[in-house]
């Protein structure tokens, strides 16, 4: 499949009401088609806001965000995963998927659920699903539209380790087969070292790009040692000796 869109961000200023300094000022960033970019940094730094700007949810900023040359809010809908599952509680798991992708059949929605290991939960109400299951439905919903741009806001936060492992694998598979452009926010070095091809570290206020790292090895070829090395490189900013 053709790679996902390329992005050009040029945010002159983004501020929230109040006397606080702007969240972003003169932030410029280009993202290559089909890349997997992690936004890395402590919470409160503006990762979620940046994803909302890219998704076209938040249009209240000065500057421009172009997705393949189209302004963000006019671009085709991205696959978006919020920090919380954010399922519509009045729709079953299947119908939540079909709310995002009205064109797909019930069978296709069930297949999307099966892909995240929820084949038997299609008619369950969200309240009947555990937190981890809801998170997986949210992922399935984001992938169901075959969006060329995937935006994930802390998709692995507050999940147990085994589930995170499963979701890493799932996400890696989907990224590898779809060729979509992926941008995800995370403050976990392990997530980033496992999935990302590029890491943008944000720091300060207004937030600036403190570090812009590219991991040479494609995610599919990374073993445990590589991931650990990448994670430590992320923490120190220095390439690990083992990789030389």
């Amino acid at each position: 499949m053709a790679p996902g869109p390329g992005l050009t961000l040029s945010i002159a200023e983004k501020r929230f009401p109040g006397p606080t300094p702007p969240l972003f000022a003169d932030l410029r960033l280009d993202i290559a088609p089909g890349s997997v970019t992690a936004l890395f940094g402590p919470s409160g730094i503006g990762k979620s806001t940046l994803l909302r700007l890219i998704a076209g949810i938040d249009r209240d900023f000065a500057g421009s965000i172009a997705i393949d040359g189209i302004p963000a809010h006019q671009a085709p809908p991205p696959g978006f995963v919020f920090q919380d599952p954010r399922l519509l509680p009045w729709r079953t798991a299947r119908d939540n998927i079909r709310a995002a992708a009205p064109a797909i059949s019930a069978e296709a929605a069930d297949a999307a659920l099966a892909r995240v290991g929820l084949a038997t939960q299609a008619t369950a109400w969200p309240r009947m699903l555990s937190g981890g299951m809801q998170r997986r439905v949210a992922l399935a919903r984001a992938f169901a539209t075959n969006a060329r741009l995937l935006l994930l806001d802390e998709p692995f936060i507050s999940l147990d380790a085994a589930l995170v492992d499963d979701l890493h694998q799932l996400l890696a598979d989907i990224i590898a087969t779809s060729g979509a452009t992926v941008i995800f926010a995370s403050h976990g070095p392990q997530d980033v070292a496992r999935l990302a091809t590029r890491v943008i570290t944000l720091a300060g206020r207004p937030a600036a790009i403190a570090q812009d790292l590219t991991f040479p090895l494609p995610p599919a070829q990374r073993d445990g040692a590589t991931i650990a090395a990448y994670a430590s490189q992320l923490a120190t900013g220095v390439p690990h000796a083992a990789l030389d």
């Binding site: 076209g56 949810i57 991205p78 978006f80 919020f82 519509l88 009045w90 009205p102 109400w125 309240r127």
Partner: protein, 227 residues
């Protein structure tokens, strides 16, 4: 005690009268007329009130502009509205239904407006991310959140409408339960009045258990404690 007997008929006497009025008397056409009036007023008031409630809940400046008028509407005596409409429009169905709607709409608006104020911004973000069209957004995001408020407005609304439709029918109409009861009043026909009342209550119970309850169960089944 013939006197007491006439004013306090036994349930059996009322049931017999009910049967007689239904089989040979004007009960069914009267009931039909009243239900048609109440039903159309109910539907118009709910649709109008829900739409206006959503608008006032979303637009603060409109709300500030009209909240005083809403208060006036809430407290306007029903009978005054009816008399004014009867004078303006004549003793017509239109005047009756319009008067009932004017009485009911402010209540629906107030209830729905509260519901709109409690809408979660989270789902608005989701709607924006999914690029939902306004219509799909209304169907998938807004109305389901408002449904408990709409059902509450429907239940209180229906009871209010039944009552005022009857009063307005007494005031001026050519048929219906209220009209017939007012004639029976002139003859002190308490058995007939109770028979009509019973028929009316049966209809109300049928609407509640045959329509509102199943609807509520169906629409709110996603909630942990289905009503």
């Amino acid at each position: 005690m013939a006197f007491a007997h006439r004013l306090f008929p036994t349930p059996l006497a009322v049931a017999v009268e009910l049967w007689a009025l239904a089989a040979h008397g004007p009960l069914l056409p009267d009931l039909g007329k009243t239900m048609l009036r109440a039903g159309s007023a109910f539907v118009i008031a709910m649709v109008l009130g829900t739409a206006l409630g959503i608008v006032l809940g979303r637009q603060r400046w409109l709300d500030r502009l009209f909240s005083g008028w809403l208060l006036v509407g809430l407290n306007l005596p029903a009978i005054v509205v009816a008399i004014v409409f009867y004078i303006w429009l004549g003793l017509t169905e239109l005047a009756l239904v319009a008067a009932v709607v004017i009485n009911k709409v402010p209540l629906v608006i107030t209830t729905i407006r509260e519901g709109v104020r409690s809408l979660a911004a989270d789902y608005d973000e989701l709607a924006a991310a999914l690029r939902l069209s306004p219509l799909r957004r209304l169907r998938l995001v807004t109305l389901p959140q408002l449904m408990p408020f709409i059902l509450a407005a429907a239940r209180t609304g229906l009871s209010l409408i039944w009552k005022i439709v009857l009063v307005f029918e007494v005031l001026g109409s050519d048929g219906g339960v209220g009209y017939r009861v007012s004639i029976q009043f002139q003859f002190f026909d308490i058995t007939g009045i109770l028979a009509y009342t019973t028929a009316f209550i049966l209809v109300v119970l049928a609407v509640e258990y045959g329509l509102l309850r199943p609807l509520e169960r169906n629409v709110l089944q996603w909630r942990p404690d289905p009503a």
